[in-house]
Structure formats: C-alpha cells, structure tokens
Symmetry: C2
Subunit: 153 residues, 2 copies
C-alpha cells in the first residue's frame, strides 16, 4: 500500500512552486511600485526610466550617455531612444563631445532644470501613498543593496 502510494502520486517539487520563488516577489514588487509612480509621473509626462535619467542629471549635471548607463544599469540600446524622447520633450540636449566625437554629452535644458521643482514633492507623495513603516522600507533597501553587491561581485 505504501509502495503504490509512492508510485501513484508524482509529487510537485516544492522548489518550483510559485509561492517558494524569491525572484517572483521582487519582480512583482518592482512592477507594482512603478505602477504607484505612474500617476505622479504622468503629471510630468515622464515614464519611470525617464524619471531616473532626470534624477541623475539633476544630481550630477551634464554627463556622457555611458555614465548615465552605468548609474542606472542601462545600455545604449535602451538609453539612445529614451534620451531622444527626452530631447523631443525639450528636457535635455544631446551633443557630441568636441574632443572625442564618439561621446554624446547629455545636459539639461532650462525647462529640464525647472522640472526639478515639480518633482520635489514626488518622494513624499510616494511615501504617503504607500503605507509602509519607514524602518521596514529602510530594511528592504539595505537587504537589496547587500544582495546587489553580492550579485555584481
């Protein structure tokens, strides 16, 4: 009886159950947090990756495409079209570097700089729309940053 039991039921490996996946909640959370940003960013007519590019330009000023890519972990295949869209919206300028024509310098236009003022309230808006204790968010951030260091070793 015990033997037939073993033969009749092929047990689903616990490992492959959705509920036991670690990556799945990370993937889901990333999408859902970006969905929370969406209405706020819509007011600025920005997508989340476009907002990230604006953040690094506000923080560090004019820089190469590859510097932005390094900070945001994005390659030129993603950035080139994204930057062209920001250029069309007159938020940035793209100029070839005079000393090295391979390099494209990305800089903010006056209206790109001005958008900073409108964006300042976003972190607080997010924090309130998103009813999680600060210490829990801090803990999440620290664990993820440790894991990212491990992955990138």
């Amino acid at each position: 009886m015990c033997v037939t039991f073993v033969f009749y039921f092929k047990v689903m490996s616990e490992n492959l159950k959705l509920s036991n996946q670690v990556c799945f909640p990370v993937y889901t959370l990333a999408k859902e947090v970006i969905n929370l940003y969406r209405p706020m960013l819509k007011d600025l007519d920005l997508t989340y990756p476009q907002y990230l590019v604006m953040l690094v330009l506000w923080e560090s000023g004019e820089q190469h495409v590859s510097e932005i890519g390094c900070k945001l972990h994005l390659d030129s295949g993603t950035l080139t079209p994204l930057l062209k869209r920001l250029e069309q919206k007159k938020l940035i300028e793209r100029n070839r570097n005079k000393n090295d024509e391979r390099i494209v310098q990305i800089s903010l236009t006056p209206s790109g700089k001005k958008m900073y003022e409108k964006a300042e309230c976003i972190p607080d808006q997010m924090a309130s729309s998103f009813n999680i204790p600060i210490n829990q968010l801090q803990e999440l951030k620290e664990i993820i940053e440790q894991i990212l260091i491990q992955i990138n070793k």
Copy 2:
C-alpha cells in the same frame, strides 16, 4: 556671508538623490535577478515571464488566461502574445471553453509537461549562482510580501 551662502548654493533635496530612492534598488534587483535566470532559461528556450507561466501550469494544471493573469499580475495585453509564443513552441494549447466561448483554456502539451523535468534543477542552480545566505533571502521575501499586501489593500 552666511546669507550669500544660502543664495549661491541651491541645495539638492536629499529626497531626490538616487541613493535615497527605495524603488530604484527594487527595480535594479528585479532586472539583475532576471539576468541571472537568463542563461539557465536559455537552455529551455524560455524568457522569465514565459517560465512563470510554465510554473503556474505545472503547479495548477489547465486554467483560464485570466487565472494565469491573476496569479502573475499580468493582463491579456501581455499574456495573449506570450501564450501564442508558448503555443508556437508546442508547450501549451489554447482552446476556447465549450460552455463559455469568451474563455480561453490554457493546457500543457506532453512536451510542456516534460519540460518540468529539465526545469527542476533551476531553483538549486539559482541558489548557488547567487551567493546569498538563505535566511537573508527568506527575510527579503517576507518583507516584500508584506509590502505587496499593503500595496494591494
């Protein structure tokens, strides 16, 4: 002197610095973990979202497009073309429900079922490629799941 200091330096709000963003590490981790899956999934000729669909089919068997969408938080705009690709690869079948023609039933083909055996090693491979202590991963998963519950309230 102090007054001129205030006027001359416009201070970047700490809130908008990339290093203080919580969403950015979540977004980065999701992409990087999917990149770790990529070489393993390439052997199965699956993308990460396709792998997730296979997981729910292996776990729960035949089901509606919308049931898969509910479990994976994906809509028909994403799932319809993805499922057509899995169908082209002969891993699944798509059939209209006889009782309600609006519903499309998704079921595994024999080769879709068989792929389960090849996929069984993936969680262990991931765990080893990814040098993070198990308890830290467990903690990450628990925090994220709590946050997802909050967000979906």
